[in-house]
């Protein structure tokens, strides 16, 4: 890292660490995670509340029941739900004003009048954002984990904690994906307010509109489900916390229809960073088999879910590259 980049990183990090906006987002995450945990915990009521979980004996590997593991999966689900909401906002908060605000305030003129390349300015900002996102994700998770775990009545093992730590990587990638997108919008915009509006619209599209659009596309491709009478008594119930739902009692035509529907929806959602994030976090907490309580090893996860990582990384790479191209080429300082 060049000295000029380090100077920019230092200034950006210190400036944000002093800002209310940055710490406000961390507080928002903690509150959101705790609120979701409290809500789910209350909804589950007697099913899990106050359940005694035997602590593993010293010197013996921890053994846990399937019910307890479901609780952990549920806990991770609320964590990822909170994170999927806050991480994009964190990325947007750091990215939307990165360039346009400097242009509006005129600080960019003082910076670019110095012996510094434009790409060094962007490098500094991106590196600083990565550090700030990593700090925010780590601090907010560390602050909210004990509170939420207590609310859930869940005891996290070392394996759970190591998986939770690993889940911070997709969280950081998700925030960085939105940061890169916002940075690109910031480079193109001439007003901070407009940049923020476009960033929020992009977030609404990717978070809320795209899943609906994916289902609509799937339905429009396949048409309505075949009209086959169901034997209602044989329908399988879906239990909270079980990731695989068995639909063996459905007639084969309907099974085939819903399988295709799921495939098309998933294909469209491949471009959703939020969906890729959920898939990765779910994969980290997937059991080897329904009968075991141990998680799938990391090698297998990377082998099967590398596409999810690649999509998140592609968001970061593509929008960062576009930001470089437009910022370096654009002769905007009048």
């Amino acid at each position: 890292m060049s000295e000029k980049v380090a100077v920019i990183v230092r200034k950006e990090v210190l400036e944000n660490l002093r800002s209310l906006r940055y710490w406000g987002l961390i507080v928002l995450f903690v509150l959101l995670f705790v609120a979701i945990s409290a809500a789910i915990s209350a909804a589950m009521g007697s099913a899990f509340q106050g359940r005694e979980v035997p602590a593993p004996e010293r010197g013996r590997p921890a053994t846990r029941g399937v019910a307890e593991l479901r609780l952990v999966v549920q806990f991770v689900g609320s964590l990822s739900a909170a994170m999927s909401f806050v991480a994009p906002l964190l990325g947007i908060a750091l990215g939307f004003s990165a360039i346009v605000a400097e242009r509006e305030k005129g600080t960019i003129r003082l910076v670019l009048a110095r012996p510094v390349y434009r790409d060094q300015v962007l490098n500094g900002k991106i590196l600083a954002a990565t550090i700030l996102i990593a700090i925010a994700v780590f601090v907010s998770t560390a602050l909210s984990l004990p509170i939420s775990a207590t609310l859930y009545g869940v005891t996290l093992t070392a394996d759970d904690l190591s998986r939770l730590m690993l889940s911070l990587i997709p969280s950081i990638l998700l925030a960085l994906a939105y940061y890169a997108l916002s940075l690109f919008i910031s480079v193109l915009s001439d007003r901070s307010g407009r940049a923020l509006l476009y960033c929020i619209l992009a977030w609404i599209f990717l978070t809320f509109v795209l899943p609906i659009a994916a289902s609509m596309i799937a339905y429009s491709v396949l048409g309505p489900p075949p009209a086959i009478a169901l034997n209602r008594t044989s329908a399988t119930g879906v239990e909270i916390g079980v990731t695989v739902t068995v639909v063996e009692e459905l007639p084969p035509q309907l099974q085939d229809y819903y399988r295709k529907l799921g495939e098309i929806t998933s294909s469209v959602l491949m471009i959703s960073p939020n969906d890729r994030y959920f898939t990765l976090v779910n994969a980290l907490f997937t059991r080897r088999s329904p009968q075991t309580t141990s998680y799938v090893d990391l090698g297998s996860i990377i082998a099967t879910r590398w596409v999810d990582l690649a999509v998140l990384a592609a968001y970061v790479a593509v929008f960062t590259l576009l930001s470089y191209i437009f910022f370096v080429q654009r002769q905007e300082v009048r």
């Binding site: 100077v7 110095r114 300082v333």
Partner: protein, 314 residues
């Protein structure tokens, strides 16, 4: 003559929804080394665009520009190492103190830590902001911001200073400080280019100037050269201070060849002529009781009106 800044047919055309805007139109500017040079023109004349190109903030559409011998397109980094810029419409990081802002910008200038602290103290002292070093910039007035902007331009001890509207927002005391500082810096051998439309603030400390109109440099040179052009177009002005009402003298002056106008105000006779009549004036006034006779040089304001208000290059 050696030039610190030299442009040749420098052209900048912006394209927007409304079409083409020619901000600079084949501008040829020559700023000699070691002088205080004024770039005078109204708002929108192309001054800021020209300055932006000189320090590499923008690329020219056509033409070339060199600062200290370095090409503005290919070697702009070398230029920015040696040039201190006070741009128009600049801004500071408002949540940082004056010292922190200067520290950040000084580090980007590549000034080593040890030297930087000393330089920050020096420039803050120079612009009269030393006691405000640890105050956040958001608490600063317009004038204090302008002083800080001048401080950041001086930070790297530059060979060339380019200042875009440097006296905007300065109070009379600040303006006086600024003029005194500029005069001192030029004596130390620096080249200073001041772009402004406020001639009364800085015009009289400039030894050289260029007038820019609609993106073109319409005239440039030292005060004598510019005054000569003015006289050739507008005529020569003289002032004769007398002791008593000189009816005969007035009559004689009116009869001189080339005299266009003779006026009397208190004890001063103003003579305007279409040619240089100093020799004849000496002959005529020698026969009367005259306190003084001098040719009146045009003021910067008159030159500005001349080059921008019509009468030149139209």
């Amino acid at each position: 003559m050696e030039y610190a800044i030299e442009t040749e047919n420098l052209t900048k055309i912006y394209r927007d929804r409304a079409g083409k805007v020619v901000a600079l139109d084949s501008a040829n500017l020559r700023v000699p080394k070691g002088v205080l040079f004024g770039l005078f023109g109204p708002n929108g004349a192309g001054k800021t665009t020209l300055i932006s190109i000189l320090v590499g903030l923008q690329l020219p559409t056509r033409g070339t520009a060199r600062v200290l011998g370095f090409d503005c397109v290919k070697q702009s980094l070398e230029i920015r190492k040696r040039v201190g810029l006070l741009p128009e419409n600049y801004g500071f990081y408002e949540h940082m103190t004056a010292y922190e802002n200067l520290e950040f910008l000084g580090r980007l200038d590549g000034i080593p830590w040890g030297e930087l602290r000393r330089r920050i103290d020096e420039v803050l002292e120079l612009v009269g902001l030393k006691e405000w070093a640890n105050a956040k910039v958001k608490t600063f007035s317009r004038g204090m911001n302008q002083r800080l902007a001048l401080a950041q331009a001086l930070l790297k001890d530059p060979e060339v200073l380019i200042l875009d509207e440097p006296t905007l927002g300065l109070d009379p005391q600040g303006s006086a400080m600024f003029r005194e500082l500029m005069t001192r810096l030029v004596k130390e051998g620096r080249t200073i280019l001041i772009s402004t439309h406020l001639l009364h603030e800085v015009g009289f400390i400039c030894s050289h100037a260029a007038f820019i109109r609609k993106g073109r440099i319409v005239a440039q040179g030292n005060l004598e050269e510019l005054a000569k052009q003015y006289r050739e177009a507008r005529g020569y002005s003289y002032e004769v201070v007398v002791q008593e009402r000189p009816e005969d003298l007035l009559r004689e002056l009116r009869q001189l060849e080339g005299v266009v106008e003779v006026g009397l105000e208190n004890n001063t006779i103003r003579v305007r002529a279409s040619r240089d009549i100093m020799r004849e004036l000496l002959g005529v006034t020698g026969r009367y009781q005259v306190r003084s006779l001098r040719e009146r040089a045009p003021t910067w304001d008159e030159l500005y009106q001349f080059y921008h208000g019509g009468g030149w290059g139209e």
